[in-house]
Each structure stands twice: as C-alpha cells, then as structure tokens.
Subunit: 331 residues, 2 copies
C-alpha cells in the first residue's frame, strides 16, 4: 500500500527547523534585505531538503500579484522543424531571463473563449502564433494582468505588439525568381489543408503583386497533400511554365507527379518550394527553394522582456521572416 503523504509546506519546514515561516521564506529566497545567521540558514535548508519541500508557484504569484509565466498557445497547424528550433531557442532565452514558458494546448477553443482560458492562468505575457486572437481577446488578457501580448502572424492586432510574418515577401521572392528565369505563366500552389490558408493566401498575393504589370500571369493552384491529388493535378495542369509550390513538401509531391507524367523539370516547368529543407537537396533535380528566416528566439525573448518591463508603452511592430531564394536545379 502506498501512503499518500501530505504535500509539505513552508510551515512544515519552519516547524522542523524550529523557526518561523517568515524565516524560511527569507532563507529560501535569499532575501538580502534581511540577515539570517548561518546556523539558521543551514537548519532551514536541511529541513527543506529532508521534507522534499517544493514551493507552490501559484501561491507565490498570488501573493506577489504577478507571475513569471509566458504563455504560448500551441499553434493548431502542423509546424515544421524550423519552428521547433525557434521555439527551443525562445524558451531557452526566456528561461535565462527567469521566465517560465508554458505552451497551452487550445484544441477546440475559439477566439475570445480561448483568450479567456489563457487569461485564467494570469500569464505575465502571451505570445500568440497565427491568427488566434483579436482585439477583444487582447483586451481580455491585458485586463487580466498580462503586461505584454505579442502576436506572431500575418497582420497586427490592435493593442498587441506584432511580429509580422511577411508571407507576401515569400511569394514575391519566389515569383520574381521564376520571372527572372524567363517564366511567364506561373502557378502558385495553395494547399487545401485547413489552417494553412493564413500562410498560403498571402504567398499567392505576394506573387501576384510582384508580377503585376509585367505581362506575366499568376494563377492559384489548389492542391491537397496526397499522391492522388498531385497525380490528377499533373495530368491536367493549366498551361504553366513555372510553379511556386507553397513549400518544399508540396514541391516534392508535385515534382514527383509531374515527372511521372513525363514533364521535364526545369525545361518544361520550373518548380520552386520554400523552407529550404534538407530533403529538397536530395531530389533530382535538386529543388530550388525560398529560404525563410524566422526571428531569432533570443531577440524575441528580449522583446517580450522589454514589453513586460514597459507595459503601457506603444506596441512595437516588427517585420520578420527574411526570405531569399536558394537556386538549385529545378528552376
């Protein structure tokens, strides 16, 4: 039979060490406004260790009136390895600034309801990827004590700091490259998977804008991420001589289907992806790609910290997502 012990509190530590709760707090938090004798310190540490005492974060921040929690709703869409690396860096950097990063799985919550759920945790800052929040949501969070709300997405939201993911630039970049390579009838793959629209629509728009007035045509090409859909698309593709395939995975899918249908790449049709994944280098022809640079996790952590310290300051707006073409053999 397993005995379920009561969770030790600072009062238990105090009792065991033969001091008051205040003293325990002083010792364990290294409060420097107060001098505690060395023997007492030792007794307190000893008692805490013996009991396996772990402070209660909620009680602490309740008393303090503020937390060190940075909340990040987990993005709904499937994310690639780039995002994972960015996340690690961000968490590491914030950890060094003594914040606690927590990802909240908001599966099934919508809009303001989601914002309220986040607000219940009283985070000191919230970093929202994608389009998961509106002005009302931001207001809810701020009223609940969030000192900074930062969005990481395609457009800015009233009241929040914004890291603008400039997906249009990705499309512009790809289209301009295809144009330079002599292509004039250009297709832009638009994934049919839900949730990817926030990225894909601006990419298409960017491609359109880049070639406006040049006489080249740009058409959106819907594509689901299945072999079958790719084969069908390859079978009767509209008259095109260049394709920007949304990203490297869709590009690989499409390229395979095109090759199977007898199209030569890049002679008949140039194909370019995005994300510059390793896998693109392994294809034949090697896949050209738009290399995307996410903001540095360190910089973003610094922004959050700054925003927390200076709550009420003007929201900062940054344009992130550097885009540059890596040409290989497919264009």
């Amino acid at each position: 039979m397993v005995q379920i012990p009561n969770t030790p509190t600072s009062a238990d530590v105090a009792r065991l060490a033969g001091v008051s709760r205040a003293t325990v707090s002083y010792v364990l938090n290294n409060t420097d406004a107060v001098r505690i004798s060395e023997p007492t310190r030792r007794r307190v540490h000893e008692a805490a260790r013996e009991l396996g005492y772990v402070p209660h974060a909620a009680a602490r921040s309740l008393r303090a009136g503020r937390s060190r929690m940075v909340l990040m709703p987990a993005p709904a869409l499937p994310v690639g390895p780039l995002y994972g690396a960015f996340l690690d860096e961000f968490q590491g950097a914030l950890g060094r600034l003594d914040y606690t990063v927590v990802q909240y799985g908001s599966v099934g919550l919508q809009g303001d309801e989601a914002a309220r759920a986040w607000a219940e945790l009283r985070p000191v800052a919230v970093l929202v990827p994608g389009t998961g929040i509106g002005p009302r949501g931001v207001a809810v969070l701020k009223r609940s004590g969030a000192r900074a709300v930062v969005t990481l997405g395609p457009e800015r939201v009233e009241g929040a700091h914004a890291l603008l993911m400039d997906h249009e630039a990705v499309g512009r970049c790809a289209a301009a490259h295809l144009y330079e390579r002599g292509r004039r009838r250009i297709g832009v793959v638009v994934p049919e998977e839900p949730g990817l629209g926030v990225c894909s629509r601006p990419r298409l728009a960017g491609a359109r804008r880049a070639l406006r007035g040049t006489g080249a045509s740009v058409v959106g090409v819907p594509l689901a991420y299945t072999e079958r859909a790719a084969a069908e698309l390859a079978a009767d593709l509209p008259e095109l001589d260049g394709v920007f395939a949304y990203n490297d995975e869709y590009a690989m899918l499409l390229m395979r289907a095109l090759q199977d249908a007898g199209r030569r790449i890049p002679e008949d049709l140039a194909v370019i992806g995005a994300d510059d994944l390793m896998l693109g280098r392994l294809l034949r022809p090697r896949l050209s790609s738009v290399r995307i640079e996410l903001p540095s996790g360190r910089e973003l952590a610094a922004l959050v910290d700054r925003a927390v310290r200076d709550a009420g300051g003007e929201p900062e707006v940054h344009r992130v997502l550097g885009a540059s073409v890596v040409r290989r053999e497919s264009t």
Copy 2:
C-alpha cells in the same frame, strides 16, 4: 496614454451586482447545492460581463487544494508530424475530460531539477516523454500532489505508470523483414544526432536480437544527418546487402547517396526506413518502411483520468508502439 486597469476580482463583481462574494461564486460556478434566484443570477452575470471578469485559476486551485492541470514537459528532441497529431488528440481528449493540458519548456533543466520545476506548478498529473525523469523525480512530483505520473518512453520508472515505447520491436520488425527478403549482412543506421539515442539504440538491439542465431550479421552504422556524411558513408560502406536506416528521413538521405555512388536499390542493397512518411512514397524506388503506431490520444487521456481518480493504485504498464512493415520497392 494607456490606462492600466486593475484586474477585476470576484469582489468587484459582487460589489457591482450588490451581492456577496459567496453569491458570485455560486452563480458563476453553477453550484447546485445552493439555489440562487433568477434575478440575482442575472445581475451577477451582467456585472461579470461588464467588468470582463475572468476567474483566477491559481487562486481557485489554491483554495481547492488540487488543480486540473496536466503537465507535459516538451520533448527535447525534434519530433515528427506523428507526434504532433498524437499530441493534438491527447489534448483534445483531456480537454473534454475538463483537464487543462500545459506543455512546459524545460530547455536547460536536468533530471531532478526539472522535476522540481514541474512540481512547483502543482499539476494533478504529469506525462513525461522520453527519459526525462527518474524514480527520485517521480517521488518529488507525487509528494507535491501529482496524483499520476506517466512516462512515455523506452523503460519504466519506479512509481510511475509506464507507456513502454517498444523501439526494439521496430528494429526486430525491420530486421526480420530484411532477412525474409534474403538479406544476410545487415546494417542498422544509428544517427549521430544527440538525443536520438534513446530511440536508435533499442532499434539496433532489436535488430540484433531478431537475427540472433540465424547466421545473419547485424552491424551498427553511425550517420550524421548531412549530405556529406551520407556520401562518405556510401563511398565506403562495409559489405552489406540490407540496411535499416533508422527512419524515413535518414533512409532518404542514405538512399540518395547510395544511388549517386552507383549502387542499385534494392538489387545491390535493400533499404528500409521507419515512420511511413508520405515522402517515402515519392522516392524511386518507393521506400519500404516500418509503420509505427503511437498510442491513441484518447486511450492515453483515459489512462490519465483513471490514474488521477485512483491515485495510489498499482502503476499500470502498457506496451505501446505497434510496428508493422509496409513493403514497397526498396526491399
């Protein structure tokens, strides 16, 4: 100038509605032990809405003595799309059981230190992927009120429920398949990337065990995830006629390098991956793969819920990770 308003509390709501804090609590929580008149209910709801009141989760669970938070340390290693889908399902299912799933970014924390950091949040349950915790860590968590600790990894940990990821089975499965296809000198790729060892070592061990006593040989083949490393490996591969490449991505990398070095696949050398990614189907030859089935998120959520309700029960141990070969053209 932005006015930073004080966060409204239930006391503010009570004041505005002209009732006591207790009444507010009753109304907003739909307490059924107590009957509140309809007009009062309306006044309270009205006041809460007007103030934008959001309850304080920490205060609530402090008072209640228990939280509904299920903590999941974010895995350190890069994870694939399978894991992402599993996570979503798990979160959704737990959400429906009224738990709050929170992923904790523990970058930079080690062993018991990490467990203490998690314990500070007083989660009601902790799901630890990989090998991030030992018996001491489990004890810390339980002493801090966690009613269930579940590990999702290669081996069980004293005191915790275990979902055993049977990576050996993956290796066994792959090796047996290669053997069946007539291969007798088999290589097993062991990624050099740190953190993947927990998966790759058991896979190699499983392959060894599967072919023990058959006369077939099994050798570990270290490989870093770069084109260069793959090319070097392909240039002087030991005498092999079959390779289990750890997963589909390494398989793709290796297969490309082998083809570039003039080896025919599968005639000279059979190659099999794992994870059954879409990309494997796009290669030529199409890549055979070990299909891995993670536990269902729903079942896992049910396990967690059961464990929470019956804390102190015997830890459950489940073997998860179904492994089955999907043969395509590369073997």
